[in-house]
Point group: D3
Chain length 253, copies 6
């Protein structure tokens, strides 16, 4: 029987976690648990928001008549609070959204982040999303920057990057984004922190329950795939991910 | 940087390993490293051969004029020696090959094996193989039996099975079998045992170097995916696998 | 703007609905809304259960020490009540489960059902399900029987079948079954009936909320794909399906 | 039996139809029937041609020695006549072809079109076409503009767009473009108008019969998928499409 | 520029051609050109019909009130005439259709055919066909028998088979069967023979033009993929195929 | 039995071969055999290197402290020697690497190459490569330029291009790049030249054996797919390719 050690949060994280997201709130809904687990294990977790989601993900603020700068400031403040609730650092590149344009300059900034932060694990969006062009754009730049950061000949400070694994986090409509989860992460021990982080985003209150339900659903699947006799708690909470590269391991489990 | 602990063989295995293969030699070429790692960690590893490969994988013996019973005995003896070299138990179901027929009776025998052995990890063939119909037939029965063994209502002794992960091991022409490796296992610490096990199969001597070369190639890929700074040995040896079900984990790595 | 008429339940169904499922409870969780919509529109809906799910989907009853016949009777009674709550007819073929064996005899019985019932729409399982071999077996027989029923030369009473569309209903772990929804059905007007039908299955009480949550999630997606200005109710409930054959239509919508 | 009402043109269209195509003639061959059906139902149909196809789809004119401006004028005149024959409005963005460059400026113009026209249905090219880079470029901009037009924060006049369904129309070599039709549209009632529109393009006379044959072939498939007893005319004419987003509906058919 | 020699029929065939089809008429519509080319090059072509298509593909005869034996005799006679028109041998295994059952006995008969006929090229159905279960069943047996015939240990007369390439011929609704042509065969020199063979099947007269149109369409695609300057005739006729195994070659073309 | 003529190098090539690669060394490892076969048959082979691979594929030189210009000169000299060893012409576009930026200017330069060189066959990278963004960028430009060069209206000297087949050559981690070989090229007669060309790249000495082993592995697969009785040499060497467009042919083989 598979032992509980591989599916509980007792293990320490393997090192610094870098999350690259298109908009200010994405990291909370889609990767809040992974971030909190990392922080709880004493490792650094850093979120890089390419934009504030000021145009495309702030409908309520626009309807309330706020202007662009107000909206950006509001989104920034909320995201900072959410990051704090999770135990993460956060950086805003303010590159604009809807559309988030894929440029060499922005990619280069990400290379600098990789070289400086030296992540052990990277999280970003899926490469397909027919509902949101910014998400794949962010993912393409995150992956391209990781490749560039590995090259000793690329002109940026710091050592060439190793080969940190990259995981795609879950999009809003997973099947439509060809998101077939291959990794279910047990976030039960830190779910309360994720919920607190979600509650830092009051404009999207309907999402709090939506993503709590999703965590339950993914938790049911985690239990189904980990075996009924695992000694997992009655209600597991989980987040789903898809690997970009093969897992390297010393043991099959 | 990803730590070395996830890609060296120092970790203990997670429990008993069950390998279900169509023919007597398959487990050596395709999963010998995984088996030896398990045995080296002090866990049971068990190989179930559905047939001896007496018709489809014994061309030399047929050309030498041996008869069916002689060939089966020879294949059995060689496989037993190879299993011993790896530290594994082995059982032969003698269900016949070319074709290996998919039957409810044979599937039921596998259910009994699951219930008795209680594997923590299962290895079997790919579900597609346009060069060999026995391999997918074995894989279908291995998966179906695992499902049946989980049902308390299935009439077989023992407790309902948990949900051990299932990995497909590497076929001879991986791309033609839609085999896209998602797990690269570091078998460096036990590669000498795999080589010794291969050498127990003298009729397929050309395969010794072929699968040594493959282990090198997969080792190069393991290093490429694990990062150049990992402190892995200069020459890594690896085996490649594809998961059937999502990985369940308490930590992303 | 897409008009509301295509996404509300006000339309009449197009004719008799046939649901072919492996086990007694499947039709409730996966297609209860579609069935209730059909019945509400005054059309016949018929469920054919190939088995009672007596071995594979009755864990609680087995743990309570019931025997096979008791379990079958219990499952049958519950399924009859659920069908009644939805307004559907139900027929049990009692072909056994875990495994449900794919046979020509059972397929032939389904041909007779098609010829007699003359469905306008057919619902069944997905063709892939790595967690349950009975589901794909049921789907393969449902599709094969539909093909056979179309042939005038097939020896069964009744007229050759037309070409009713076939929809796969949603499996428990959709992504793992390659289930990418292409049809979202608005079941808001009849969701209370689906809930009542679910409550006819007391052994699986944890599923009531699970599938209520799923209906909400699919409802959110329905609204997202139908446009925010549609005049749909605040909370939509939906079921997801995948077509086997192309849609034929006189109007794009 | 599926009723005839879903596969004849008697139904009214669901609202304004927007067709976004790379070159001046594309809309005639690939979507002429859908356009004529919309117009016949009394709804607006609008074609936006990103270029005239002056370089890549005007081989005969170049061989005749015409210059760029002459060719553009000729293509424009023909397309206007074809649009008129179908009952559609037409607008030319003159963005150049071979290559049609994907730019934020051009995408922004499309956002304005969406906001002004408020389509209920959108048609465009496939996202893959190894024979023509302009087609996927047009499709990517059409989809991206639809997404942007939905955002209240996007700076363009008009109300945020709803969520009109998007259909890909049929490319010249469908299988090579991963075009697997999921929607067959009955264009029998308006095929004569499509033929007239095709005849407005004299430089491509060999295409008239080619696309008439295609309509017959797709018509045969429509009948095959709609059932032999449908009461459809002996010879049906059809166009094939692929949905980008799931269908939302109140009834399965 | 690619030379004409690779796309005209002037080349001699590479050896005996074996066509394995489910029903009596399949080989004419789907592979008549390939067969005639082989015969014209002086090589043997042999068609093996697993059934007469007596139940599933003889609707007109059933409507005319003929009985099973009459229909089988009629189908056989027509197929023999068509084979003769193409220059092929033909053998009927009379295994029954609708359904064509996949059995070890029937597969074994095909192994004997392979060993006796020693084909250089094999043609059969696609592995997917949601409209016809007999077609994939025939394809699975054709492929399985080819694998078995290669094994020296398989108990059948003759030498072990080499590794003849296998091509899937075109199904009626190619996209729905995941048929993405990777080989376009120029059948212009022998199209008249294919037409004559089609005319041997009077019950399916509507198919004569249907498959003539298809040959034209595939011919247009052949020209499009072979280059406009090839010196091919104005109207090319072609058949489309999909390879099961990689092409082995001494020259890229 | 398939004749040896299709799998030995005795055949003459079909015309000029154009290889478009991202970096200076790519053509040697991935297509050296195809190039040497073409040259040996008396046809022109031309390599176009979009960059020298100065930043991304010259790690050793950077670690030795060389500067950018030195590295470019070194890479150029080595590539020229390797091309000479294979019998190929070589041109360097010096467009920069890591990242190789996809621009209309660079694509236009490739159009001019196509129009001037008039290739009969084109080789380039795969369209997917999660380890290297330059490779897909090169492939996209190579394909786009081929399309543009076919248009008479495209403003570049020379005649419109025909339709030369395009092959993707093998990436370093084939399965991760969705590289499923459909063409295995026998390079046995020229493998010594490929080895000599590899030895012109001393900085990557570990690759010499790596790609020799790969050629052996692909050679084993070639024999497996061409049949054991082919009379091929004991040890075959091969290169693997994937076609972008369907093969056009006058004979199935």
């Amino acid at each position: 029987m598979k032992t509980t050690s591989t599916t509980t949060g007792a293990q320490s994280a393997t090192g610094p976690l870098l999350v690259i997201s298109a908009h200010a709130g994405d990291f909370v809904w889609r990767a809040g648990g992974a971030i909190a687990l990392t922080a709880a294990a004493g490792e650094r977790a850093k979120v890089v928001c390419l934009s504030y989601g000021e145009r495309g993900e702030s409908a309520r603020a626009w309807r309330e008549g706020k202007n662009l700068e107000e909206i950006k400031a509001e989104r920034r403040a909320e995201a900072e609070q959410a990051a704090q609730a999770l135990g993460a650092e956060i950086e805003f590149l303010d590159a604009g959204d809807y559309p988030l344009l894929e440029t060499q300059e922005l990619t280069d900034r990400l290379v600098h982040v990789y070289r400086e932060f030296e992540p052990a694990v990277v999280l970003t969006h899926t490469l397909a999303d027919p509902y949101n062009g910014d998400h794949p754009a962010a993912a393409r730049m995150a992956i391209q920057a990781r490749i560039l950061a590995q090259a000793i000949g690329y002109d940026a400070p710091g050592e060439p990057l190793g080969a940190p694994p990259v995981f795609h986090f879950e999009p809003h409509q997973p099947e439509q984004c060809d998101f077939k989860p291959d990794t279910l992460l047990d976030i039960t021990p830190v779910f309360d922190r994720k919920r607190k982080a979600m509650e830092c985003l009051p404009a999207q209150q309907h999402m709090w329950d939506y993503y709590t339900d999703l965590a339950k659903r993914r938790g049911v699947q985690l239990k189904r795939n980990a075996g009924p006799n695992l000694g997992l708690p009655h209600t597991c909470m989980a987040e789903a991910f898809v690997r970009l590269y093969p897992q390297t391991t010393g043991v099959l489990a």
